[in-house]
């Protein structure tokens, strides 16, 4: 049944109407019914154009035998739209103090780990180190440490960072529209916030307490970012919590919804795949993704969205990252340390996840060169910002 969306409808209600917020197993079963001829049809349609049915076909098991053709199409499309380039960014971890109790996370409030948070001065010291490596695109990362990593803290840090970095974005806890507006005014132009999972019931299980418990509220936060003027909005599901095929369908709907409604914000999608976290015991994840799964997911999204950014972090091992740069990826991190203060020290006791690609930024740039790709360090300019 085709339902017309109205402008006032929130994404949470649209997802519910589409039935994509629960009962993933029914969706998984439905995806098994696609055939070879469905896949051929989807692959002969205009590459880069979104249709919900097309995304369903491309993530289905039937498309599994067509990954090479999907990869060729995705590669051509990405080169046409983004050129022979990959943007490089670097994360700066500010704090791993956390008030949330997400069951999958090493920074979980209940975990007795060594905690660390950076003062603004310490953060700037770290930033100097990474600026010297050539980075101009910095992502500030923090766990749910609202009392210390405040909006004021981020605004002040951003103002200082703008002297050295052409692009400052954040991946912290969810905020309000007013807070995003304040951050935007201080020069923060991109926000990444993962829904973690689009399955309502799974979400509830993994977020038993703290400020993240409200599924619907989190689902509608991207609207607030866009309304605040954010140029880059990063979406993602923590891959491994639920069936990736259905998560991809929900992600597609989310991206499409935001693109239609907030035509001036660019959407990007990340692929945070669950890796073992040092401090979480006995975790059993039913839905872990193989490399092939992740590649299929990425290709399916590219073939439905010609222009969304596709982002790959150093969670993934070097060999896999090297091979994925030609499959539609547009932005990747390099030389990352995932513990606060990690750029000065050699210890790794506090990492959120284990970095699987520990090569330096210049080594990554060299790898890209060998593959006929130019590493882009700067793709924004402080001149756009009103520095009054």
């Amino acid at each position: 049944m085709k339902t017309m969306q109205t402008k006032s409808q929130q994404f949470s209600s649209i997802l519910t109407l589409r039935g994509l917020d629960r009962k993933y197993s029914q969706w998984s079963n439905a995806l098994n019914n696609f055939t070879e001829s469905d896949v051929k049809g989807a692959l002969s349609s205009q590459p880069g154009v979104y249709r919900p049915e097309k995304l369903m076909v491309l993530v289905s098991p039937a498309a599994r035998g067509h990954l090479e053709q999907m990869a060729q199409l995705a590669h051509q499309l990405t080169v046409q739209r983004f050129g022979k380039t990959i943007k490089l960014y670097v994360p700066l971890y500010l704090s791993n103090y956390c008030s949330s109790s997400c069951r999958y996370c090493g920074f979980n409030v209940d975990n007795k780990i060594e905690r660390k948070r950076l003062t603004i001065e310490e953060a700037l010291e770290q930033a100097d180190i990474i600026a010297n490596e050539g980075f101009r695109d910095i992502l500030l990362v923090s766990s749910e440490d609202r009392n210390y990593i405040t909006v004021e803290y981020l605004c002040e840090l951003s103002k200082q960072l703008r002297k050295k970095f052409s692009c400052v974005s954040i991946e912290v806890y969810q905020m309000t529209a007013a807070e995003y507006s304040e951050l935007f005014a201080a020069g923060i132009e991109g926000v990444t916030l993962y829904q973690e999972t689009y399955d309502r019931d799974v979400y509830k299980y993994y977020h038993p307490a703290g400020l993240k418990t409200d599924y619907g509220q989190r689902l509608n936060v991207a609207d607030d970012m866009a309304a605040a003027g954010m140029r880059e909005i990063g979406l993602g599901a923590l891959l491994g919590l639920a069936d990736w095929r259905v998560e991809t369908l929900a992600l597609g709907e989310h991206a499409h919804y935001l693109m239609k409604r907030y035509w001036q914000s660019h959407i990007s999608i990340s692929f945070p795949r669950i890796r073992p976290a040092s401090h979480v015991d006995g975790q059993q994840f039913e839905h872990l993704l193989s490399d092939k799964d992740m590649v299929q997911m990425m290709l399916a999204l590219r073939l439905c969205f010609a222009d969304v950014g596709l982002v790959l972090s150093t969670r993934e091992p070097a060999s896999l990252r090297d091979n994925m740069v030609s499959l539609g990826i547009t932005r990747m991190s390099a030389g990352s340390k995932t513990s606060p203060g990690g750029y000065c020290k050699t210890e790794h006791a506090l990492e959120q996840f284990d970095v699987n690609d520990s090569r330096s930024a210049s080594q990554i740039a060299e790898m890209l060169r060998e593959r006929g790709l130019d590493a882009v360090w700067k793709d924004w300019d402080c001149g756009f910002i009103d520095n009054k």
Partner: protein
């Protein structure tokens, strides 16, 4: 001589090139050389204009090429003007390719903000080359505002679709008193030839060259087609008709009475 003249400056080549999407600065420099272009546009977002050692800027010989900064990524007039002024202060270049592209997907130019920015920049002594949709009235408004050219798109940028806006570009060419540079969407050398044949003063190409398997060879092909198209335009092309007309008339034997 049949030179291109923009804002009083003469150019032998009628092919302008962009610098995005290349696999390296070296490939970019070689391709620019191969296409014989004299005007090279760079996105201010992409380069560090204050830095003499910027990789991309170093690859462009400023004695040989006019470096034409562009404001791609600006969402409104204020952003474009601010960026232009900072760039001029840092580089002392007062030529500017004005791009106001609030939509991050098709990068289509905002006509309202482009006109607003053009008016402000012309007043501030910039030589303004505005990127616009193929809108004849907007082209006239910009010309009235004092821009040095108008640069209508052939089809959405990077789309390689060719002269989809041909009918509107023909009107712009007919009415313009400033050079018309067809910008964006030219995917093949034959598309560039088509633009030149109908009387465009120049074309600007980037994606089609940068993303070709052999960018230098493609750059040469564009160079040849731009020349061919211009020569054809100057030769007074024959008019296309629906019916065939014999090249040896059947009534040629009849004498004048």
């Amino acid at each position: 001589m049949d030179n291109l003249v923009i804002a009083g400056r003469e150019f032998n080549s009628r092919l302008l090139v962009g610098t995005g999407k290349f696999a390296s600065s070296k490939v970019m420099a070689d391709a620019i050389e191969a296409c014989g272009s004299e005007i090279v546009t760079v996105a201010l977002r992409r380069v560090d204009i204050e830095n003499e050692n910027d990789d991309m800027l170093l690859a462009i010989d400023r004695d040989k090429y006019l470096l034409l900064p562009n404001t791609s990524g600006a969402r409104d007039a204020d952003e474009a003007v601010r960026l232009a002024k900072l760039a001029r202060a840092a580089s002392s270049i007062n030529w500017l390719k004005l791009e106001v592209t609030p939509d991050p997907y098709y990068l289509l130019p905002d006509p309202v903000e482009t006109l607003k920015a053009a008016e402000a920049l012309v007043k501030d002594d910039f030589i303004v080359l505005p990127y616009i949709n193929a809108d004849p009235v907007l082209a006239k408004r910009l010309e009235d505002a004092g821009t040095a050219t108008v640069m209508p798109l052939a089809s959405p940028i990077g789309s390689n679709q060719g002269m989809r806006t041909r009918a509107a570009i023909e009107i712009i060419i007919e009415q313009a008193n400033v050079p018309v540079v067809v910008d964006a969407g030219l995917g093949l050398p034959s598309h560039a030839a088509e633009a030149m044949e109908i009387g465009a003063d120049a074309v600007l190409v980037n994606t089609a060259i940068a993303t070709a398997a052999d960018p230098c060879a493609m750059a040469r092909a564009f160079k040849l087609c731009v020349k061919a198209g211009r020569t054809a335009y100057n030769s007074g092309p024959a008019v296309a008709q629906r019916k065939a007309t014999a090249s040896s008339p059947l009534t040629g034997f009849l004498r004048d009475e």
